[in-house]
């Protein structure tokens, strides 16, 4: 492998590249899906290849191939140089990479049980048992479940002398009960986060108990009344807050968006570089960390796809925006001398771009339990799990639903309500954050398929938090008749 990497880098240099790197990757994906009492899909797929990135005359070039052979490596390296030359014709500012030491290292997800070594029969049996349990509950029309296991093995080598090998494992379980009756249909999903862990994640959960409770809650949701629109205090559980953080903070604080590099697709951001260090993003309770070191989180790695060692940094400190997510190429645009380590490519055939690391909300410093937070809330709603989500192209106006929503009346959790969603503006919403539960309630959630870029790439990242309260947020109802 090292020989092929060196051949690629030498070829690129000899053709005129001032910098080159190669990623040689192998991806394995195991996916088992069951509906009701049958298994619809048992799939085990793999994809392997390499991508070579070059800089020529200050411009990027990239080419990739699945044929890992000497001649092909040379051909692709030369092609990446040619592509860079074509790009250099419409160049405004030459690419400059922030300095980073060269590393020779190996990093792997610390797992206890490799999910690919667990017999398929065991996984199939688990899915069928869960579906069977959900279908026992009267009112459940459909039970759906999947288990998804990913392995990413990748080597990064650069003309600066790095040679880094990484082996990452991800486990993603998901189960949904669908209740149908009285002209309506509602779903409820099992609340277990995907993580960068092995099969131990699956074995740590009492799935049958969770399946039964989830199905019962789907039926409760079906029978519940429509939410009443208006202003409410919200208590958002970590399983829900995950996606709200992802959309309203994660994407908003990407430096490539702030610089206009995503303008044609996902958009730009209201968090422009002139606001760095001064923008009041939220209340003083808001502390947001960018982080590729967090154990078990979906965005954790030893190194990013620029070969930058994983690190941790503040994005928002006591409500003030203090740091963008950056790559080696981006750092200088905010006058920083080193990358924050946020480069990622979703395949050997993808060009690395700035992607979110794990982005999480720090737990409150003072002891505050969920019970205490609920007791202190007179008229509110508690959101758990992810529902509908949508946000504008500059990350101002958003709307989020939940997987399950309960009323809070006079300090107590009451009935479930359905078709609830909240609309707000990012800084108003985070400005209304007035309490975050303490450390013992902090949970590590994440997003398994975040799209960005042209051509589109998918990425995983963690978003942990403790339950948090937001005051007087605008609730809308998604109910009604045709």
């Amino acid at each position: 492998m090292k020989e092929l990497a060196e051949l690629a880098l030498d070829t690129a240099k000899s053709k005129g590249a001032s910098y080159a790197d190669i990623r040689i990757c192998r991806y394995r994906d195991q996916y088992i899906f069951g509906r009701d009492k049958r298994i619809e899909t048992t799939a085990d797929t793999e994809s392997a290849g390499f991508g070579i990135r070059t800089i020529v005359n200050g411009a990027w070039g990239f080419a990739s191939s699945y044929r890992l052979e000497k001649e092909e490596v040379q051909r692709i390296a030369a092609l990446a140089v040619d592509v860079a030359r074509a790009s250099a014709r419409a160049l405004k500012q030459p690419v400059e990479l922030a300095p980073e030491p060269a590393y020779q290292d190996h990093w792997q997800t610390p797992i206890q049980k490799n999910p690919f070594k667990i017999p398929m029969e065991k996984k199939i049996d688990l899915i069928l048992r869960i579906n069977e349990e959900m279908l026992k509950v009267e009112g459940i029309k459909v039970a759906m479940a999947f288990l998804n296991f990913n392995e990413i093995w990748k080597v990064f080598a650069s003309t600066e002398g790095s040679f880094i090998e990484q082996d990452l494992i991800f486990t993603y379980p998901n189960f949904t009960a669908v209740a149908v009756g009285a002209g309506d249909s509602q779903t409820r999903s099992i609340q277990v986060p995907p993580e960068q862990k092995g099969y131990e994640l699956i074995e740590a959960v009492d799935w049958v108990e969770k399946a039964r409770r989830t199905a019962e809650e789907a039926v409760q949701k079906l029978k519940s009344r429509e939410v009443t629109a208006g202003k409410k205090d919200l208590i958002l559980m970590p399983s829900h807050l995950c996606l709200t953080m992802h959309e309203s903070i994660g994407h908003a604080t990407e430096l490539d968006r702030a610089l206009g590099w995503e303008a044609d697709y996902a958009g730009t951001t209201f968090v422009t570089p002139d606001k760095l260090g001064t923008l009041k993003y939220g209340s003083p309770q808001m502390n947001i960390i960018g982080d590729k070191l967090l154990p078990g989180a979906l965005g954790t790695a030893g190194y990013d796809d620029d070969g930058v060692q994983a690190r941790r940094f503040f994005i928002i400190k006591e409500g003030i925006f203090v740091g963008y997510q950056t790559t080696r190429e981006l750092a200088r645009f905010v006058k920083e001398n080193e990358s924050k380590g946020c480069a990622y490519a979703d395949s050997w055939s993808s060009f690395p771009m700035q992607r979110m690391p794990n982005i999480w909300l720090k737990a409150g410093d003072k002891r505050l339990t969920l019970d205490q937070l609920i007791s202190d809330t007179k008229d509110g709603l508690l959101f758990e799990g992810m529902g509908s989500f949508s946000i504008d192209q500059q990350r101002y106006n958003f709307q989020f639903g939940g997987d399950a929503v309960w009323e809070i009346k006079n300090g107590k959790v009451g009935d479930m309500v359905k078709n609830a969603a909240y609309q707000s503006k990012t800084t108003d919403f985070w400005g209304s954050l007035d309490a975050v539960c303490s450390e013992e309630h902090w949970e590590n959630w994440g997003v398994f398929g975040c799209g960005k870029g042209e051509p589109p790439q998918s990425a995983r990242m963690g978003h942990g938090s403790a339950p948090a309260r937001f005051r007087q947020v605008n609730i809308i109802s998604g109910g009604g008749k045709l």
């Binding site: 298994i39 799939a43 699945y66 790009s87 149908v180 192209q393 709307q399 078709n419």
Partner: protein, 442 residues
């Protein structure tokens, strides 16, 4: 890598022949795409991307396993077959698994493969983008965008003799031009890169960007809207992608009528509306292949407002005693003999929408969607575009949109701002469209 049909077919045949007695299906898809991205009036990334997927499905009775690899060698493909067979051994019986189909006859469709698109170079893309950047600079705008050209091939053979091989090319171009307080967008997708009129798409985005500068505030509420084809394409596509019979019969969709019944045959939207799919459409040709290799033919989904067809998988069709109907091969909606300008002229007070963005469903029982306007929203008064207004979030169902149509233009091929896929649709003038809040985004 361009697959040669003879080579691929003989490889697939050999694999099938090596496993007599197995019910199996083997296939290959491969392609190469070149794409160039630009922003702030300069190229940012430029690359050539290859893909190859070789897959094997092995079926044993009612049990099936699927495996995929990405090497086109007999040895690696055999490995995929072995892995799929091992998965089929451990899979439980799936009572819904349908038997494999035999040889099929596919309708002839217009050309999907254009050599000049397959051979399009990074230099040609850069050349086209330089022209856009020059236009942007002249107007003191910044241009961002994406230009992609590529080719792909797809082949499949099963042990009952079903076989197909198709090649296609695709080119996609999108540009967003921005100025302080204004933004414009235009996009196109074609099988033949030579049909993408990049200077015109740049001009359209320039006009939108300059025209949307200085937006005046307009409160949320229900308005008559004129949806340009890119916005209409998203609404019609979301409707059609949810036209699934099983969900409707199971009581889980806006097409459910309860007690296992659905709205097939019933009036759903305005009698003005007819929507169909046709892979042989000259405006929007498509692969003529549906579920499990069934031929895809012209399917009328909505005729004069009534539901004429729903998507029936092979299993569900069998269970319900009907013919299977595959997922829409494309989206085509009939229009009226008007222009977009006619729609504007006929409007006393309304909102002109260029495109939508970030559409997600909120309630499947009424197909309630939420999303936002983007890249040009304009107030129309007394038959003319008066001034730009702020962006909005909408909470609305495409069913209501198609119920409330007042007037339509002639249909044209347009790329949906959210789906990124082409559809042939008219611009729509629609009453009482629900904008639920205002967005500050530009």
């Amino acid at each position: 890598m361009i697959l040669q049909e003879e080579e691929v077919r003989s490889l697939l045949e050999r694999l099938i022949a090596e496993s007599p007695g197995h019910e199996m299906s083997v296939g290959v898809s491969a392609g190469e795409t070149g794409s160039t991205r630009f922003a702030n009036n300069a190229i940012t990334t430029n690359g050539i991307y290859n893909h190859l997927d070789v897959y094997a499905e092995v079926t044993k009775g009612k049990k099936r396993g699927i495996a995929a690899v990405d090497e086109l060698t007999a040895e690696k493909m055999r490995e995929a077959v072995d892995r799929a067979a091992a998965l089929a051994d451990v899979a439980p019986e799936n009572p819904e698994l349908m038997p494999a189909l035999g040889p099929q006859s596919y309708p002839t469709v217009p050309a999907l493969y254009f050599p000049r698109t397959a051979e399009f170079s990074p230099g040609q893309r850069a050349e086209a983008i330089l022209g856009v950047v020059e236009k942007a600079k002249k107007q003191n705008l910044t241009a961002a965008g994406f230009f992609e050209t590529g080719h792909s091939s797809s082949a499949r053979l099963n042990s009952k003799g079903l076989y197909y091989f198709f090649r296609s090319t695709r080119s996609y171009y999108s540009n967003t031009l921005k100025t302080e307080g204004g933004s414009g967008w235009a996009s196109a997708e074609e099988e033949d890169a030579g049909r993408i009129a990049i200077p015109e798409l740049a001009d359209r985005a320039v006009q939108k960007a300059l025209g949307s500068k200085g937006a005046r505030p307009l409160p949320a509420g229900k308005y008559t809207v004129i949806l340009e084809p890119a916005a209409a394409a998203d609404m019609v596509s979301y409707l059609l992608y949810n036209f699934t019979a099983r969900e409707a019969d199971e009581g889980r969709s806006f097409l459910s009528l309860g007690d296992g019944r659905n709205r097939l045959g019933e009036g759903l939207v305005s009698p003005k509306v007819t929507i169909f799919s046709d892979p042989a459409s000259p405006e929007l040709p498509a692969f003529p292949v549906g579920e499990d290799g069934l031929p895809a033919r012209k399917t009328i989904w909505v005729e004069k407002g009534a539901v004429r067809n729903l998507i029936y998988t092979r299993f569900w069709a069998d269970k319900m005693g009907r013919e299977p109907v595959s997922f829409p091969s494309n989206v085509i909606m009939e229009g009226e003999e008007h222009t977009l300008e006619d729609l504007i002229k006929s409007t006393e007070r309304g909102v002109l929408v260029t495109r939508f963005w970030y559409i997600r469903d909120l309630n499947p029982m009424i197909l309630l969607l939420t999303g936002l306007t983007r890249d040009g929203v304009f107030w129309v008064e007394n038959g003319r575009v008066s001034h730009p207004v702020n962006n909005f979030r909408f909470n609305e169902s495409p069913v209501n949109v198609l119920r409330n149509i007042e007037m339509m233009s002639r249909p044209q091929r347009a790329v949906g701002g959210e789906t990124g896929q082409s559809a042939v649709v008219p611009a729509l003038k629609v009453k009482e469209f629900n904008f639920s809040s205002v967005s500050d985004a530009v």
